[in-house]
Amino acid sequence: MQTVTREQLLSKAVSLLSSGTVNRVLGWKKGDFAYDVTPSVFETESELQDSFVYNIFCSANFSKYLISETQKEGRVLVFLKPCDSYSFNQLLTEHRFDRERVYAVGIPCDGMMDTASVKALAPDGLTHAVRDGEQLKISTLYDGETSFPFAKVLPDRCKLCKSKKVVVYDEMLGTNGDITDAPRFEEVVRLENMTEEERYTFWQKELSRCIRCNACRDVCPACTCEKCVFDNPASGVENKAIDDPFEEKLFHIIRAFHVAGRCTDCGECSRVCPQSIPLHLLNRKFIYDIDRNYGEYIAGAEEGLRAPLVDYHTDDPETDAVMEGGQKQ
C-alpha cells in the first residue's frame, strides 16, 4: 500500500492554503485516463477538492517547476518524494530558486508506475489501475481485471531505487526511509562488458528511435539553462529531427554530459521518452565513472556539495579512456 493517501495530502494542502502559509500548491491533477496524471498548480481549495489526485502514477518530479513558481508572489507548497528531494537540493546548490518561497512536504515513496510500464501490461483499453497491497490490479475493456505483482512490474528506476530517504523537507508526512543499496549499475556493467561492435549496435538501435522531441531535456531537473545549446537558431535546429544518426548521438552524448555530476538519477528522462529509449543508462554511466574515478558522489544528497566536474584533485587517475588509447606506457 502507498503509506500516504490522497486524503492526507489533500487535508495538508487545504490546511496550509487556508491558514495562509502558502499561496499555491504544486500537485498532481487527474486527467482523462487512469494513467494520465499531470503536474499542476492549484490556487483554491475547490480546485484541490475537484482534481487533486495521488496514486501510483504520480511520478512527476516537481523540483524543476519551483524555478518558475518561486518567481511569483508568495509561497508555494510542494510535495517531495525521495527522488524529487535530491533534485531539490541540487537546484538549491545551484541557486536556482529561493528556499524561503517554498514549503516542502516530504512524502515516502515505494515506487511509481509510468505510462510505458502499464501499457506494457495492458496495451489497449485500460480503464483502471490501482495498487492493492503487493498487487497491481489492472482492468481493461476487453479482458476484465488482471493482477500483477507490483514490485515486478515497476519501471527500472524504481526497481533499482537509490534512496527512499527524503533528504530535505519542512515537514514529513509518514515515515522517512533509508538510502538503499540497489545494484543500479548492473546494466551499465553489462553493456561495458560487451564488445565495441555490440555496444554500437545496441545504442544504434535505441538512439535511432529518437525523434528529437526534447522531452528528456525539458523534464530534467538538472537541465535548467534558460538558453539551451540545442535551441541555438544559428545551428539549424529545425533540420535536426531524425535525418542523421550523428545528430542523435551528438544530442544524447551532450545532453548527458551537460548534467554529468549534477544528475541525481531520478530517471525522469526515461519516463517521459515517447520512444522508450533507456536514457537513464547514459546518465548512470557518467555516475558510475565518477564514482569509480573520483570517489562516490550522490548529487543532491546535501545542499552545497561541489559537483565533481567543477572540482579536481591533482592526483586524479589518468584512465585508459583518455591516455594513449588504452596503452599507457
Binding site: 553493456l191 561495458e192 565495441e196 561492435e197 555490440e198 555496444r199 554500437y200 549496435t201 545496441f202 545504442w203 544504434q204 538512439l207 545549446v229 535525418d243 542523421d244 550523428f246 545528430e247 548521438k249 551528438l250 552524448i253 551532450i254 548527458a256 554530459f257 554529468a260 547514459l282 554511466k285 557518467f286 565513472d289 565518477i290 574515478n293 573520483y294 565533481p308 566536474l309 567543477v310 579536481y312 584533485h313 591533482t314 586524479d316 587517475p317 589518468e318 584512465t319 585508459d320 579512456a321 583518455v322 591516455m323 594513449e324 588509447g325 588504452g326
Partner: protein
Amino acid sequence: MQINNTTEFRPKIVAFCCNWCSYAGADLAGNNRLSYPADIKIIRVPCSCRVNPTFILRAFQRGADGVILCGCHPGDCHYTSGNYYTRRRMTLLFSMMNYLGIEKERTRVEWVSAAEGAKFAAVMQDFAQTVAALGESKRLEDLRCKQ
C-alpha cells in the same frame, strides 16, 4: 608529371593544442626538422580546457577520423588548473563515447610541454598510425557532411 593514384587511406586527424605548451611544442618540432604526418590538422586553443565536448563530436561529424587533445602536463597549466578540469571531462567524455561503441583508439589526451618537440612528433606519428589502422570513422559520421 606524375599523379599519385594510390588509394592508400590517409586519416584526417584533428589535434587541439594548447597555445602555451603543445602548440609551441609543435613549433619546436618544426624548428628541429622533426617530421610528423601531414594528416594532423592543428587547432590552437588558449587552454586544453577551452575544448568543449561538442568540439570533439563536431570534428568527427565534419569528417575527422581521430581527435587528439594536447595540453600542459598536470601542474604546469598556464592558468593553474585548466588541465585538471580537462582531465576529468575528457575521462568522462571519451569513456561515454566508447560506451556508445566508438573505438577508443580514435580519441586521446596527451600532455606535451613546449620543450617536448620530439615527444610531439612521436605522439602524432603514433596516433596517426593507430587511426590509419582503424580506417575511416564510420560510427560518428554524418552523411550530410560527406562529399
